[in-house]
């Protein structure tokens, strides 16, 4: 599949999905929204982490920052602008943080990105309590739920399109080079530091924009909701179960996970998570390449790998 065909597929898919609000009931639309949000998060996570083998747990931080941009700007900023601003703030934060911590690898990087997320969450909790005298914020004027749906769809489609472009671009090559052997990539002239910071910020942009877009769904925003580590973990799980080196894999597994979660969690909350845990272990042990390795085998050979 070349880049043009890929982008056209994304465009066609997004247009088809954009028609869903006229076809589905409110409940099913909410379900579709959750699938699309996780697809966007997982693809943008895999854009950086899948290629470079850096395990970032900071998604919840970017998502929450984006949501808080919407909450702080509510009333002052129009919805579309606050989605954009949420993405930009998250990307700026990622670039700053990336410059400081991207020399760490492996478990250190995972722990510090998780720690940063928690640090931001607790700092915002403290700031709101000490200086604003509130625990959470109410978003009074929420846009229509269809508007939110289209915004989330737009951001997610943009994330997929960007992932496609990055994969073909020099940046994607550099990232894959870093992933297989960082020192060799540097020897061959890749500016690893710049490539990593750029890709980290790019992937944070989409997480932040999705957080900003989703914030209005909650009407009441407080740090435990929007910085929920579960959002970050779920994203990592979805991407890795789907196959983080691919783009289609995370999308497929985002849909599967969201459907499973939605239908089973309400009925059997604890048993569902027990089964989810078991499923996850079995998948990692017996299908380590992710869901994508199933269809890669009989559709197309691995490209450039």
């Amino acid at each position: 599949m070349n880049l043009r065909a890929g982008l056209l597929t994304v465009l066609a898919g997004a247009l088809a999905l954009a028609a869903l609000p006229w076809l589905l009931s409110d409940f099913l639309l909410a379900l579709a929204l959750s699938c699309i949000m996780y697809a966007g998060l997982a693809v943008s996570w895999a854009m950086f982490c899948g290629a470079t083998n850096y395990l970032s747990l900071a998604t919840a931080a970017f998502f929450g920052l984006g949501a808080y941009v919407t909450a702080w700007g509510a009333g002052a900023l129009p919805y579309g602008l606050s989605v954009l601003a949420g993405g930009l703030v998250a990307a700026g934060f990622a670039a700053l943080v990336g410059a400081a911590v991207l020399h760490l690898r492996g478990a250190y990087f995972a722990v510090i990105t998780f720690g940063l997320g928690e640090l931001v969450r607790h700092s915002i909790t403290y700031y709101e309590k000490a200086f604003e005298g509130t625990v959470g914020r109410i978003i009074a004027e929420a846009p229509e739920s269809t508007t939110v749906y289209w915004a989330v769809l737009l951001v997610s489609a943009a994330a997929v399109a960007t992932a496609l472009v990055v994969r073909e671009h020099r940046l994607g090559l550099a990232l894959r080079g870093i992933g297989s052997d960082e020192e060799r990539a540097q020897t061959l002239g890749v500016n690893a530091r710049r490539a990593k910071i750029a890709a980290f910020a790019l992937s944070a942009f989409f997480a932040g924009a999705l957080g900003a877009a989703m914030a209005v769904r909650w009407t009441y925003i407080d740090p435990p909701t929007v910085f929920n580590p579960f959002i970050g973990f779920q994203t990592v799980l979805i991407a890795m179960v789907g196959g983080a080196q691919t783009i289609l894999g995370p999308i497929v597994s985002a849909v599967a996970f969201s459907l499973l979660t939605e239908f089973l969690r309400l009925q059997f909350p604890y048993l569902f998570l027990v089964i989810l845990g078991l499923l996850l272990i079995l998948l990692v042990l017996y299908l380590p390449g992710g869901i994508a390795s199933l269809f890669v085998r009989w559709r197309w050979g691995r490209r450039g790998a």
């Binding site: 478990a107 604890y270 499923l279 272990i281 380590p288």
Partner: protein
């Protein structure tokens, strides 16, 4: 003066528990590159075992401690055999082991925590054990906290001694320094890995049993300890047991003093602040040479 003493002492008591939890996790990571994110869930299991022992069988939790350790050791060997053995033996590179074991850890976290919810429900449980206050140098502590501190430090020191002086301890340290080299001189990985993994869970179980004497227990109690243990092992250096002991004490004291002089809601900000400062200044841990 007595305020400072009291703060330092209660910081050390908290730190002692942190150290026990962190040393187990650190051994697993240092030896096998398994970052077991579900470590805290096994701490929770240990706490429930001690609670069951006390409330159903009427056994003194201190007497029950070896039983908890043994049960959790067996559980650990089984978990290693069922989950991590396959990852360690099939993964092509160390980074792959780290990533996959992290995922399996998440799976275990969901599995164990929610199985506990199904079995025992979400209620807080507890029992009172040695709740009388004791006065030392003008500061008052409940007796159980002192017992917990003594046992936590005792368990950590015992483990450090085992690592330093026994043959198996030397084998473990050799494997941490150079896995290939250790195998070349005849150290059996297939024996050592399950044993160390089991020992890690046994330590987590003991920590949980100790905590159950002081605090109320619930199926979600483990998670914060996992996070704290991660902070502690990064503070003390991945793979260093002594570093974890000192890192645990440091974090306990910093948290206690920080909370006293600023505000309790800043507790997590303080611990993560310490973590990030240390990682930026000394990426290999505070006590690395």
């Amino acid at each position: 003066m007595s305020l400072w003493f009291e703060l330092a002492a209660s910081g050390l008591i908290t730190g002692g528990i942190y150290a026990v939890v962190a040393i187990g996790l650190n051994l697993q990571y240092g030896l096998m590159r398994i970052l077991n994110i579900s470590h805290g869930e096994f701490l929770m299991l240990g706490a429930y075992l001690a609670w069951l022992g006390y409330s159903v069988l009427g056994v003194n939790p201190l007497v029950f401690l070896p039983v908890v350790a043994l049960v959790m050791f067996v559980v650990g060997v089984a978990v290693y055999r069922l989950c991590f053995f396959r990852i360690v033996s099939t993964a092509p590179a160390v980074e792959v082991i780290e990533a996959r074991s992290l995922l399996v850890g998440f799976g275990l976290l969901y599995l164990v925590q929610n199985a506990a919810y199904l079995t025992w429900g979400a209620d807080l449980r507890g029992y009172s054990f040695l709740g009388d206050p004791v006065e030392i140098a003008g500061a008052r502590f409940t007796a159980n906290r002192l017992v917990v501190f003594a046992f936590a430090v005792g368990a950590s020191l015992l483990l450090l001694a085992v690592l330093r002086f026994t043959l198996i301890g030397k084998a473990v340290r050799a494997m941490m320094q150079s896995p290939t080299g250790a195998q070349l001189v005849g150290i059996d990985t297939r024996f050592l890995h399950p044993v160390v993994f089991g020992a890690g869970l046994a330590l987590a179980g003991v920590a949980g049993a100790l905590l159950s004497m002081v605090y109320e227990i619930s199926p979600a109690m483990g998670e914060p300890y996992t996070v704290t243990a991660l902070i502690v092992i990064v503070l003390g250096g991945l793979g260093s047991a002594l570093g974890s002991l000192l890192g645990g004490f440091l974090l306990g004291v910093v948290e206690t003093f920080g909370m006293h002089f600023t505000s309790p809601s800043l507790k997590m900000v303080l611990s993560y602040g310490v973590l990030i400062a240390v990682l930026l200044a000394r990426p290999k841990g505070l006590f690395a040479r």
